[in-house]
Symmetry: C2
Subunit: 492 residues, 2 copies
Amino acid sequence: MQLYTSQKLQVHNSLSGKKEVFTPLNEGHVGMYVCGPTVYSNVHLGNCRTFMSFDMIYRYLKHLGYKVRYVRNITDAGHLEDEGEQEDKISKKARLEQLEPMEVVQRYTVDFHQILEKFNFLPPSIEPTATGHIIEQIEIIKDILEKGYAYEMNGSVYFDVSKFNKKYTYGKLSGRKLEDMITNTRDLAAQDEKRNPQDFALWKKAEPQHIMRWPSPWGDGFPGWHLECTAMSTKYLGETFDIHGGGMDLKFPHHEAEIAQAEASYGHSPVRYWLHTNMLTLNGKKMAKSTGNNILPNEIFSGQNDILSKAYSPSAVRFFMMQAHYSSILDLSDDALAASEKGYLKLMEAMNQLADLPTGKTTDFDITSWKQECYKAMNDDFNTPVLIAQLFEAVRQTNLIHDSQASISQEDKEELIQSMSVFVYEILGLENNQDMGQDRDTLSGLVDLLIEIRNSARANKDFATSDKIRDDLANLGVQLKDGKEGTSFSIK
Amino acid sequence: MQLYTSQKLQVHNSLSGKKEVFTPLNEGHVGMYVCGPTVYSNVHLGNCRTFMSFDMIYRYLKHLGYKVRYVRNITDAGHLEDEGEQEDKISKKARLEQLEPMEVVQRYTVDFHQILEKFNFLPPSIEPTATGHIIEQIEIIKDILEKGYAYEMNGSVYFDVSKFNKKYTYGKLSGRKLEDMITNTRDLAAQDEKRNPQDFALWKKAEPQHIMRWPSPWGDGFPGWHLECTAMSTKYLGETFDIHGGGMDLKFPHHEAEIAQAEASYGHSPVRYWLHTNMLTLNGKKMAKSTGNNILPNEIFSGQNDILSKAYSPSAVRFFMMQAHYSSILDLSDDALAASEKGYLKLMEAMNQLADLPTGKTTDFDITSWKQECYKAMNDDFNTPVLIAQLFEAVRQTNLIHDSQASISQEDKEELIQSMSVFVYEILGLENNQDMGQDRDTLSGLVDLLIEIRNSARANKDFATSDKIRDDLANLGVQLKDGKEGTSFSIK
């Protein structure tokens, strides 16, 4: 591992409730599993925040030199809305839309990938699907049954939480106690084939009308939702791995069930560091389709929505999300996005000007300690808002240098350019002037030509023309800046 | 179905060797299966041509009003380089690159999707994976064993071609005869556990070092390559479906094996119309990595290659491919691409000018019969080169109208705009000025400003300035065209 600072990487482990020094199981390698989307509808913006946080974490771990195997699954079967239901989310959607379930899966997997690409996510190392691991799930169920922590009932198999809780502790991640859960649950035993309401399905029997089904030792059926993550994380990362991430709402019952399944089957806890992201609210309230307090990523990018005053680019939204710590609640609003967009554009403008920064003999800015502060922020549980504050400190310094109020040496300038690029593009994953390759060049050429014509006009004292050019350019979003070394421009 | 012309859609069926009227199994619905890529390397340009042909066919069938379920698989396991080998293509790559096989799969699936998106492919309805259908494959093997057309040998299961050939006909798609194959094969029986060299694997035993493996009734192993397509086409399209497509090189043994597997299991042929695409050569020779006569899609788009003189956009390449019939050999060369690019740009320029076409009281151009010719071309086995010739006939007509040498009525103009848009964008899948949203507007604004300044200069007889503007714009790829109604421009 490259050591950029004396302070070691610390992460907040939800299991201990504390920040802990991050020490991977195998030196130099990190195994990370993140619960991906259930692909039965367009990806939720709150989920995007979760995946973006882990994208940033993945980027940072790679930057530190770790060889990271990052597994993020696609749930394409088995996600029951609640344990009592007979139909999973995808089958239900397929029935409502008169599609084959895998057509539903394809439609929303494509949507998911398109949105993530717009947000400039790195693809995970492996993106396994639940339906691609039915055999592995059946094998684990057989094992848990054999070890006595599950029981079969009418073609379904349930995890026996009470039995498990005698040897292990159910609820340790979410801080719940099984006794309290039992006390607080209405007695559903009469209408439920489970022994206890806390038990959860490992395998559900498929009713004759059920379209997603696979043969198993217990008859045709489909796996319970919690099981797929145990099967896939074990297959690709081993029985114990470093980081398991997901949204906070998955702590219970999903992640709790994952721990129970792994402990029941392998006899030990599967995950060393549990990381959970916090909620994204919209105008101060929970996002929910049912209340209309909801917005899709594409609605933000296109501006076609009733909630925001204008369109915001994926990079502006990414910057907005990175301005909050992943474990804090973040509220999205028009004002907040507009403020972030301003900050994002300011940062990009500074990035564009770095190369032209004049150099001197000395540097008035302590690059080394500034870099230390940046790494300190990231090593403190991936504190991106503090990192971004440091980036703006660098922007402030470059503006001083630009205005000849401070100086930077050639060597330090190169170091600064290199570091800014690492933090802004590589780690935060922001993009500069996206969608603008060839056109940007033509655009610059056109503006340069206009500047040339304006200069001639000024030389000829034709101020009507020179002013017209400046004003018309401003209307097109092109700002001219006259300086000692000629005229430069920025495009909004 | 919408009837655009009296001529019915005909397709060349490789099984009969004839053009046949296309009549789907279920009226109004089409089931289409296309063999997708084996994701162990960057997608081959020749494969892109195959998938592009079926993308066009998918688009046209949808345009005709069919509800199309288009299944294109991802082969992520089981593709043996030849029957004698113990290791499939993905496992081999994983071993060479020291990656988990599913990391190889992910890397090249992402590449595949990115290239196809650049080419403006529509996603298929379902994109199933071989590893996602191991259970379904095992079920078919059990069935074929039960019916006596397969045998188990040391933990592997082989399809018994000789036995099959007694009741059915092996080789009818590729026109081969089993007796000839037997005569022409060296006797490998000594080093082979198969009864006959023509037999092919349904299930292969995994050696201890083999990393991709699943439990089965015959021990740990993995499915043979041919089987996945039978399993997935049956699952999503039924035991008989309308169209099966793929590259010509898959006719034997892959598609022949698919027919045999389906006939052995279901007792009847699985596919009504077999469609095969032809080869893409490069500078007159077969493309092959080993000889260096090879080019990747991204190398064409970026211009970073030793074969072509410049970069070509995905749309120009798409246009190039659409200019040949899918069943003809197509040779890619710098000259051919340059010519196609010219044609593509000419077509796009015409598309951009359609809205500004002046209208008159009459139309000198028989839009109805022109449309008929377009549909006639497409209905004649998707004859895109003939369609494109018709599109250029329309371009010729619009140029005449533009130059006031011919006339078009408002109604016919709208009809023409609508039809051109359907053929060019919807059916051929070409894109106009992609990657150019916001910037394009700024760009147009800048050019408009320059035209305005140039007009003032000309009015003031300042020809030095007006000429400079025209020349500098030309250097930036912006062509000015002075006409009766002012100056217009086109951007290269």
